[in-house]
């Protein structure tokens, strides 16, 4: 009687399982999953940067677009905290410090990129805009990871649009020093993206596995 009905119902449900794309088994995004997403974002941005940097350095012209260009680092105000770090120090960073360093770096890069002199072609401005959107996504993703782990966000970037300190008489596009600054900004960004892949690899291993909650929504019944 009743039991038979239940059995039939269950059989029907089972038979229809493959035909039910709406049978959603979703996981709550634990920190583990967010770290993976952030890692994937850094890889995507690193790839995008190759094209963007090539285009921008060509716009700056020689010697900036020469592959062997290896200028000395001039003692000027650093727009972005450097990714360079002692190996043991890097290994010993706490998760919080590691994430915070990434957050700070990309926030400053974002500021500086937005202030970048892109009086070049419309294509260049478009690429730059697209890249900044993706970079903003990365900053937000890192913030997401930090909050899911209970870490406070570092103090935000200065209210004024980051960028280079104001040049006396205004920065002219053919100002060699400004071009050098732009060159180093892109270099520092590239290095940070390489470093972040390693940072997030380490975080992936250290953060406890994501908690998976099943929410089964069988539609159509």
């Amino acid at each position: 009687g009743d039991s038979w009905g239940i059995f039939t119902f269950l059989c029907a449900a089972l038979c229809n399982l493959p035909a039910l794309p709406a049978l959603n088994c979703t996981e709550e995004l634990g920190p583990g999953r967010s770290i993976q997403k952030t890692y994937d974002l850094t890889r995507y941005l690193e790839h995008q940067l190759r094209t963007l940097a090539g285009t921008y350095l060509n716009y700056l012209g020689p010697p900036f677009n020469e592959p062997d260009f290896n200028p000395p680092r001039l003692a000027r105000a650093e727009r972005v905290p450097s990714a360079t770090v002692d190996l043991d120090l890097w290994r010993g960073l706490t998760d919080n410090a590691r994430l915070a360093a990434n957050y700070r770096a990309y926030s400053r890069v974002l500021c500086s990129l937005r202030a970048l002199d892109a009086q070049g072609t419309a294509e260049l401005r478009h690429r730059l805009g697209h890249f900044c959107s993706s970079l903003q996504g990365l900053v937000l993703s890192i913030a997401g990871v930090m909050s899911s782990l209970g870490y406070p966000l570092p103090a935000g970037p200065p209210a004024s649009p980051g960028g280079a300190p104001a040049q006396p008489g205004g920065a002219a596009p053919n100002d060699f020093l400004k071009k050098m600054d732009d060159f180093w900004l892109l270099k520092e960004l590239q290095t940070w993206l390489w470093r972040s892949a390693k940072d997030f690899n380490r975080l992936k291993k250290k953060v406890p596995p994501a908690v998976v909650t099943l929410r089964m929504e069988a539609r159509g019944f």
């Binding site: 059995f7 399982l17 088994c25 892949a197 690899n201």
Partner: protein
Amino acid sequence: ESHIQYERVGADVTMKCGSMDWDSAVTWTANGTDIDESHLNGSYLILKNVDLTQSGQYSCYEGSSWHLKYQTYLRVGVPPKEPVLMCRSNNYPKGFYCSWHLPTPTYIPNSFNISVIHGTREMVCEKDVFLKNRCHIRYLQLFSTVKYKVTLTVTNALGKSSTTLTFDEFAIVKPDPPESVVAKPVPNNPRRLEVSWQNPSSWPDPESFPLKFFLRYRPLILDQWQHVELSDGTSHTITDAYAGKEYIIQVAAKDNDIGTWSDWSVAVHATPWTEEPKHLTTEAQITETTSTSTSSFMPPPTTKICDKGAVVGSGAVAVCWTAGLVLAAYGILFI
């Protein structure tokens, strides 16, 4: 006293008999053999357009007394051509090594000098213990924005030549190939081969700097390789091998994010499992075999629905299926 003299191929060489006057009577020998007077200009020995075969010991003796007045060792060679320099990090993040050689021989002794400059700092390149054309640099800092500039200069008595490499820390990362590659057949599975390997022992920290792998395999009888890229784990099961065919398998490694692929590992050979051929049986044995075969008949092992090989998709789908089955089981129980 003895001298050494280095001269270029094709040069004209004039040898003086020590402090003897031009018009002294002397005899020159080359490796002990007298040299004809036609090569002499007074007491000077003239060798025109020298070649490699003229390398050797040249001695000058005073005419009548046969006193040895002068002796020199002539080495004919060429100045060095631009050396070939290569730098590679197979032990990231520890450091890197640079290795060099001359494209063509000089036939005379050469000395090498290498300099490694990082920004404003000159770094020490430690000579390799075994290989004389290799040295090692240890990274002092990681994730550097400044390039490394390595200059190799080769010098000999006839000239010098140098070459420079400039690169980023990340650009030269190339691990050694994976080690201990093993391929085994899988019992009762005629189309499978289980391959396993290990991280190269030179890679110091696979935990923080994980490697990904590329596997290629083909049956010996075909030329076309099949490829699989694996982002983690050091084993893989090939499931589409041709039954009974011997396979050749190789693996390569790469840092997950930076640098280039390693060379291919040593090749291993393996053939998938094949069923033992049945022997011809007599009448009596047939009845016996029939009865035993019926009792020993087993349904083919059911692949678990959430088997790694069968599921294509996220783990969430696998969970759905098991949940579905559990529901079914409960349903049946409650009838």
